[in-house]
Symmetry: C2
């Protein structure tokens, strides 16, 4: 296993310490590194909290800050955070207007966020993100998985929270925007969880996993590596089928790297995906390209499409200041 680490036992703690030092103008760590929170909270604002297993950086801690999350709870690599982490985060960042949990649909995350919500003696609601159209049910999931679309949901709902929307409205917005968001990914290589020390799965030198999950869990099928155009056609085609977009519909297009894919290739995929969308009469209003929801060093990418209207596009464009996403401020 080739990694820039000191010890598999301390990699998460050291990484969080480095993250908190590097972004001390934006975030601070909770006690015992249970959560990453905004350094400055806004009183009276609904608090947005997400979290999940680590290894998907910059998700979620990289999206804590003005215009997005108030706190993120990092579990061990590919392992859910505990209910205690989520409870501690909620108590730390609730500004009196309640707490909205944004949870990717994995059984462990769902169970633990639910337990935290039950213990929480404050107004709260939960938005479940399940944007991955690749498979129904999966290794760690009942129903569809939550993947890269999560960051778009966090941005849209985060901007609405920042302008003062109330808890019920944010819950409704998150639920509806999740339905307007669909993703699918492909893996060219596996990844190695530090504590495991060996690749999560085996894959041939000419194979790819179509519809892969962000922990390397199986997708739709294992096939021979094809061209960027063919991959983009399959991923984007599945997304379009799911969303049933009308011609003229405006969308946000996210081409997301899984961690080991050069930016040059991601832009080849952007070019391929935009042609597929243009062919369907869909208009890309905003692009986001980069490795935002990763699977450690896995090579591959996912495509996410979110249907937007004037209102949600304005929320996307609203100022954001986090470690991983920043504009307008």
């Amino acid at each position: 296993m080739k990694k820039l680490i000191n010890d598999v036992e301390t990699v998460l703690a050291e990484s969080l310490d480095g993250f908190a030092a590097a972004h001390a103008d934006i975030v601070t760590l909770g006690a015992d590194r249970q959560f990453v929170r905004r350094r400055q909270l806004t009183p009276g604002k609904v608090a947005l909290i997400s979290g999940g297993g680590s290894g998907h950086e910059p998700l979620h801690a990289g999206f804590v800050g003005h215009g997005m999350l108030d706190a993120a709870c990092p579990g061990q690599v590919f392992t859910s955070p505990t209910p205690n982490q989520m409870l501690a985060a909620a108590q730390a960042v609730d500004g009196g207007a309640g707490v909205l949990f944004i949870v990717k649909n994995y059984s462990g995350d769902m169970m633990n966020f639910e337990m935290a919500a039950e213990m929480l003696d404050r107004d709260h609601a939960t938005v479940i993100v399940n944007d991955d159209v690749a498979v129904e049910n999966s290794t760690y999931t009942t129903g569809r998985r939550g993947v890269a679309g999560t960051l778009i949901v966090e941005k849209i709902v985060g901007a609405a929270a920042e302008r003062g929307d109330k808890l019920a409205a944010l819950k409704a917005l998150g639920d509806s925007f999740n339905k307007a968001t669909a993703s699918m990914g492909v893996a060219l290589t596996s990844c190695t969880v530090p504590a495991a020390g060996k690749p999560t799965f085996q894959i041939g030198s000419d194979e790819m996993e179509m519809g892969v999950g962000i922990h390397g869990e199986p997708g739709r099928r294992r096939v021979r590596l094809t061209s960027a155009d063919e991959i983009a056609a399959e991923l984007t085609g599945a997304i379009l089928k799911d969303l049933s977009l009308k011609p003229g519909q405006e969308v946000i297009l996210l081409v997301n790297g899984f961690g080991g894919t050069p930016l040059m290739e991601l832009y080849v995929m952007v070019n391929a995906a935009r042609k597929v969308l243009a062919g369907a009469g869909v208009q890309v209003a905003r692009y986001l390209t980069g490795s935002y929801v990763t699977s450690l060093e896995m090579a591959g990418c996912s495509i996410t499409v979110s249907a937007v209207d004037e209102g949600t596009l304005a929320l996307w464009d609203a100022p954001v200041r986090t470690a991983a996403l920043r504009w307008g401020v």
Copy 2:
């Protein structure tokens, strides 16, 4: 070779098309994709132009925009752009106040930028970046190589150009800031140039290349993989020795991924490097962490330290709006 591409002959063109589409609010492509330029130029401002082989994305096209470069010339992967590209870029973006070329010290880039400068019938000057302390002379270099520190030089000089500094002042600032900037890197894996189809170099499963160049060229020595702390101590130690910083000196710390290294590991390296710097009494005033100057999908990272004063720190903090670096606007 596992890559998200259609054809090795068209990968650069398609990637540039995707890039230009995704960032159409900031950039536009020159004819025949000879250069990437700002969509909106500022009359009377000195034009900053950089460029070099592709495969280091987001360098340099990702740094074209307000507060940084006016144009970037992308060569084929790990191949210098031609003098004609540089000349065309200069003619396209010169706003009447002259052109400053910012060139990484590689023999091919140096020769071609020199030829372009000779052909250019406008005021011009050149800043050569040679921040890599690993080796004197190298596979493609006479003298030290130019690596990740280039982006910091581009940001500092870009901000000064934006506030209206003249050509001679910018040349002097670039030269002096290059001297205040030092870098060194380490590779854990090789990378594969699409047109070559096989890894640039071989490396054992327990080895690393200490002092590697950004094309995978040899560094100081091939050694067994050690801990993040030991790697950070060697890289940062070599940088500190080169810069001869006094206790209390403020610096910018860039921990740069080479393309295949998870962000989690980069933050472990941030944590390790900041301790080495603190031990030397050096104060990190600003952090930048991410894969900014890459070697395709190579695993590994470099550390860059730039000594700053009040003036250069203000230039670093000045607004920037590019595809890869954005704040304050």
